[in-house]
């Protein structure tokens, strides 16, 4: 694998805007979508990344079982009120759409950094923008990217058994709005009826005990680009839980796939994604699979024997709450202060670096299957909301 440079297309801004990537430039005027460089892989390297993604997904499924069987949810900071619904959803398998593994890959070892399982973004860039870039710049090369096709295929699978219309809700940022608009478009292409609503516009009808849209019509299926841990800390939290299956559902219907256990409103992503989007998962994965070649040592009770590590808050987002410690010294962030959520302490990974930047490889899963990759580059060791997206290809 190698990072190469090239001249950006002369009208790249107009081209990426046309396909929905309107947030291509950061507040400081620097490009977020950076096509002055790209990463080139061999097909063998892509095969390795794809296989690693599938294997980590298998480990995560086992970890989900272990978390529930060993009652580890309180340790993860998950509210007790949500536990019955999480158990019921895990067992009844309501539709789950997508997720993104963030991987460290230096050309030799692949290591899981974290799993963005509930509200991953960077999708428009990975699924569409870099695909059109490839057609314009390297039409004879290939790309690890079947996101668009797999999204439409998944919606087609769901078409006949999810209640319609599917409401698509976002929290209001431009990136989230465009991500939801893209996902909604793939659902429409699959033949589903859809509606958009902002998360703050969702209504609760107290008389009929259901959520309603702006026309006061009941909402039966909701895709929400808004994390479960936020929903459960807001005034409608109890209403959200009331639409999910109660503890009795598991006893009544048994631990099997059963639509009656989906609750009165279908939430996508399902509430069990709280098990995977929580960074405690990293420590639990290591505990269950010590020494696994795709995992980094990670602990919940402190860095133990690690002298160089990353401390992450369990529910941190976009690089917030991350401290990088090398040889006992904090290089980025601070070790002072305490997070009420708690932390995970994860060994430093060997990362790909080039041109003074550090790359993280976001490996996408659609319906549990590897589906593509997006690469983010940062000047420092932590990926955050100003890290650039750089396209890739393989030959």
């Amino acid at each position: 694998m190698r990072r190469l440079t090239l001249n950006p297309r002369s009208d790249w801004q107009a081209r990426v805007e046309k396909i929905g990537l309107t947030y291509h430039t950061l507040a400081d005027g620097k490009p977020y979508w950076d096509e002055s460089a790209y990463w080139e892989f061999t097909s063998r390297e892509i095969d390795r990344l794809e296989a690693a993604t599938a294997e980590i997904q298998r480990l995560a499924l086992d970890a989900g079982d272990a978390i529930l069987n060993q009652d580890r949810l309180a340790q993860m900071g998950i509210p007790s009120a949500a536990v019955p619904a999480i158990r019921a959803a895990w067992n009844s398998e309501p539709p789950a759409l997508y997720g993104r593994l963030d991987l460290a890959y230096d050309g030799t070892s692949i290591k899981l950094l974290e799993y963005n399982a509930d509200t991953p973004t960077g999708l428009v860039e990975a699924a569409v923008a870099q695909w059109y870039w490839l057609q314009d710049c390297f039409p004879n090369a290939d790309q690890f990217n079947s996101l668009h096709e797999k999204l439409i295929a998944k919606w087609k699978d769901l078409k006949d058994y999810v209640p319609s219309p599917v409401h698509f809700a976002d929290g209001g940022s431009e990136e989230d709005r465009m991500t939801v608009a893209y996902l909604r478009d793939t659902a429409q292409q699959a033949g589903l009826k859809t509606k958009h609503i902002a998360v703050h516009q969702i209504g609760w009808d107290a008389k009929h005990s259901h959520f309603v849209d702006l026309e006061n019509n009941p909402m039966n299926t909701l895709f929400k680009l808004y994390p479960w841990e936020w929903l459960l800390n807001e005034p409608f939290a109890d209403h959200a839980l009331s639409t999910l299956p109660p503890a009795s559902a598991l006893q009544q219907y048994g631990p099997r796939k059963d639509r009656r256990m989906w609750g009165s409103m279908l939430w996508i992503e399902p509430i069990w994604k709280m098990l995977w989007s929580n960074k405690a998962l990293l420590a639990i994965l290591w505990e269950l699979n010590p020494g696994h070649e795709l995992l980094l040592p990670a602990y919940l009770d402190g860095p133990r024997n690690l002298n160089s590590y990353v401390r992450k808050t369990l529910l941190g987002r976009e690089g917030s709450g991350v401290t990088v410690v090398q040889d006992g010294v904090a290089l980025e962030g601070t070790l002072s202060g305490e997070s009420p959520q708690g932390y995970v302490y994860q060994a430093l990974a060997p990362m790909a670096t080039a041109a003074g930047k550090t790359a993280v490889f976001g490996s996408w899963l659609l319906d549990g299957e590897p589906a593509g990759m997006g690469i983010r580059e940062s000047v420092g060791p932590v990926t955050n909301n100003t890290s650039c997206f750089v396209p890739h290809l393989f030959r």
């Binding site: 973004t121 976002d170 107290a206 680009l225 987002r317």
Partner: protein
């Protein structure tokens, strides 16, 4: 964050029965059969009064952490 949460909390609400007559707020807190909140209506303020105007729908109970002008929920 404060704006959305405040909007939800400050909305006037009454506890009513299935015919729209005023009940003690405790009926809604305990989940008495048929009791539910009614938002933005008005009444004489006495138990049994009819509540006029308003709606059974409240909004703004989500989106207070993200919401307009804030970081989104994606990552």
């Amino acid at each position: 964050m404060a704006l959305s949460l405040t909007a939800c909390r400050d909305e006037h609400r009454d506890c009513v029965d299935s015919t729209g007559r005023l009940l003690p707020d405790s009926s809604c807190q305990t989940g008495s059969r048929g009791a539910h909140y009614w938002y933005g209506g008005s009444s004489g303020g006495h138990i049994g009064d009819s509540v006029v105007g308003g709606s059974s729908v409240s909004r703004g109970g989500f989106g207070g952490i993200g919401g307009e002008g804030h970081a989104g929920g994606g990552e």
